[in-house]
């Protein structure tokens, strides 16, 4: 190949708490002003990507799509040791569903000049869909293996992994360029290094928007999203509810009596 191996790790900034507010006008998440963290699964993706770079050499780039404050997770990734980072941010991207997100991320990876290996976490804890990884691979015209619990071998032409299944796992080999999504089992994330943290402080995160990526408005954001949320509601509470009052010891005894009487518990054991 003409260039060194390039590994891209996709990371996302997600709200820290479950008390997320919705923008009433658009029905999309208001991400500004809410405490944010790196998506926990992406820490594992970072760790996997760092280990691959140790094995193959080359360049490791962290990319994130989000509002301007998402630059923070890029700086965090620099602290962990990635070589470069990229923030992909544009008001036009707001409200993107998973399909529109894959369009933007693929355009960003093309903008970087392509990747030999793309590493993603299994899913983001806010959307919880686990769709972007596999979809991005399809968009880039490369193979993917999802739910990777271990990397056995990797070089610039192939990767051999353990892919978790519902009945165990498979050992799978994929020719590169390719994409993997990883599970916690991939390994314990190393802490950021002092050198990394110092570099992160000084690091100016480059930003690209719709213009630089050449994506059309109808491909991204709400317009580029075939799915839309039409209703939000709190699930109705269930029927008969009874609180058992009093000190814990008596409440504990009482609930057992109620369950025995109602034949929910059998004393036969």
């Amino acid at each position: 190949m003409e260039r060194d191996m390039r590994i891209v790790v996709c990371i996302k900034q997600v709200p820290e708490t479950t008390e997320v507010k919705l923008d009433p006008a658009t029905g999309t998440l208001k991400r500004d002003g809410v405490a944010s963290v790196m998506n926990p699964f992406d820490l594992f993706a970072l760790e996997a990507a760092l280990r691959v770079r140790e094995a193959t050499g080359g360049q490791l780039v962290a990319i994130t799509m989000g509002p301007p404050q998402a630059a923070e997770v890029i700086k965090e990734a620099i602290g962990y040791g990635v070589d470069e980072g990229l923030l992909i941010s544009d008001p036009a991207f707001a409200g993107s569903d998973t399909l529109a997100t894959t369009t933007v991320l693929a355009a960003a990876i093309r903008h970087l000049g392509g990747a030999d290996l793309v590493v993603c976490g299994k899913q983001a804890i806010d959307g919880d869909t686990a769709q972007v990884g596999p979809g991005l691979a399809a968009r880039l015209g490369m193979g993917h293996v999802a739910f990777v619990k271990a990397i056995r071998e990797v070089d610039e032409s192939k990767i051999v992994v353990e892919r978790q299944s519902d009945t165990g796992y498979e050992v799978v080999e994929m020719a590169l360029p390719g994409l993997i999504t990883v599970l916690r089992e991939i390994g314990t994330p190393r802490p950021p290094s002092l050198k990394g943290k110092m570099r992160a402080k000084r690091y100016q995160v480059p930003n690209v928007g719709a213009g630089e990526l050449g994506v059309k408005p109808e491909e991204v954001g709400l317009k580029g999203s075939p799915t839309q949320v039409v209703k939000i509601f709190t699930p109705p509470p269930v029927g008969e509810r009874r609180m058992i009052e009093g000190p814990e010891e008596s409440a504990g005894r009482q609930v057992v009596d109620i369950l025995v009487e109602g034949k929910v518990i059998s004393l036969g054991g």
Binding site: D128, V230, E248
Partner: protein
């Protein structure tokens, strides 16, 4: 929307697509075709490519929604075994197909799987589309996605459902992009809006205590995944008839090889079959708390469950997780200890016949679903419960 996709492995840089493109948006750089802005998805490049290295996502057509017809279920199989979720999907699929007045199809992909077609028909399919080839023996993400995407382009179903299993969750998002449509994961509810004849997909959302209803009004098919045991199967009827159609399979290739299949369950917990589930959440405070949870579970002849919070904290294995991204259970008795009751957990256990909750927070959402609630310290409540059980049994 978007543009033709180049498979970098297959592209030889021959330039046939560059010549064929009526809009001049394809260039060959470094022996690789690059599709630029202005692609209209006309498909001229796909038609001329000798390597099959360029393809066009299903383009938006006027009236795509009207032209699409039929409900499909991806009938996943692993070594000739179809998991229960497929039959549950045939159950909900049947209901959706009837609401639309359309056919229910199952798509079966593998090698020597033809005999399974009869089962799929017995459980509700009107037609089974079979893709049978030695190359399809093991699940390979790119090849399976290509087979399903081609079938979708050829037959134009309105709805495609799959289990949110290890296979389904890897396959469907890939197909989503190949076909250029919307996908909603982990749906807990599926209904037809009769007036507009579209699918209403409901799932917990936004990391909080909210449910969302999602639509894919224009693009087809509308795709959704559903976790096991969320939907109910209909009855099996061996008298049901249906037809089998073989899918065309030419020129399939893959960059993936399955080298070894290992059967191993890290921690065998049959949550789904248990009559009694005692679940520990973050309120336990530590991994040690699960000792007490286990004690109560054993005293009641049940199994131990866990919330995602407890699993993420590393206190217990994922096999015990109950909830949207864990297992769905419907036991006779569900006891939630130190569980807040976030909607993603509740959707996994709300069908339990009797729900008991113990939590120090009187505003915990779990109390809205529990039949019996105790506000208090579980480390005092549970020992009292165990004592009372002992007393009653000793007597």
């Amino acid at each position: 929307m978007d543009r033709a996709i180049v498979n970098e492995r297959k592209c030889t840089g021959c330039g046939a697509c560059e010549e064929a493109c009526p809009f001049g948006v394809i260039t060959v750089e470094d022996e690789l075709a690059v599709v630029g802005e202005g692609c209209t998805l006309c498909g001229a490049c796909e038609d001329v490519c000798p390597e099959g290295a360029i393809s066009v996502p299903q383009r938006e057509q006027e009236g795509a929604a009207e032209q699409a017809s039929g409900v499909w279920v991806f009938a996943e199989q692993r070594e000739g075994v179809v998991p229960g979720v497929v039959f549950e999907l045939l159950g909900v699929g049947r209901r959706l197909a009837e609401a639309l007045g359309e056919e229910l199809g199952a798509v079966l992909v593998g090698h020597e799987v033809g005999e399974l077609a009869g089962e799929l028909i017995a459980w509700g399919a009107d037609v089974v589309y079979v893709a049978d080839d030695p190359a399809l023996k093991h699940f390979r993400e790119d090849m399976y996605a290509e087979v399903l995407a081609r079938a979708i382009r050829a037959k134009r179903p309105a709805i495609v459902l799959a289990g949110a299993t290890a296979i389904g969750r890897s396959l469907m998002p890939r197909v989503q992009v190949l076909v250029g449509t919307g996908l909603t994961a982990d749906c807990t509810g599926l209904e037809i809006d009769q007036e507009r004849r579209i699918l209403l997909q409901t799932r917990p959302a936004f990391g909080g205590n909210i449910m969302a209803t999602i639509e894919c009004p224009v693009r087809r098919p509308q795709m959704a995944t559903v976790r096991p045991r969320v939907m109910k199967r209909l009855g099996r009827d061996s008298a049901r008839t249906g037809r089998v159609e073989r899918l065309e399979l030419e020129e399939l290739s893959s960059v993936i090889q399955v080298l070894e299949v290992v059967r191993a369950l890290e921690d065998d917990v049959d949550l789904a079959a248990a009559d009694v589930v005692v679940t520990g959440g973050r309120g336990l405070g530590s991994a040690e708390g699960f000792k007490l949870v286990r004690e109560l579970a054993e005293a009641l002849g049940g199994v131990v469950g866990a919330t995602r919070g407890a699993v993420d904290a590393g206190w217990i294995g994922h096999a015990h997780q109950v909830g949207q991204t864990g297992k769905t259970v419907a036991p006779k008795l569900y006891i939630a200890l130190g569980v807040s009751g976030a909607v993603q957990h509740v959707v996994g256990m709300q069908a339990a016949e009797t729900i008991v909750a113990v939590n120090t927070d009187p505003n915990a959402r779990i109390f809205e679903v529990a039949h019996y609630g105790i506000v208090g310290d579980l480390y005092k409540v549970v020992p009292a419960m165990l004592e009372r059980l002992k007393e009653l049994r000793g007597a």
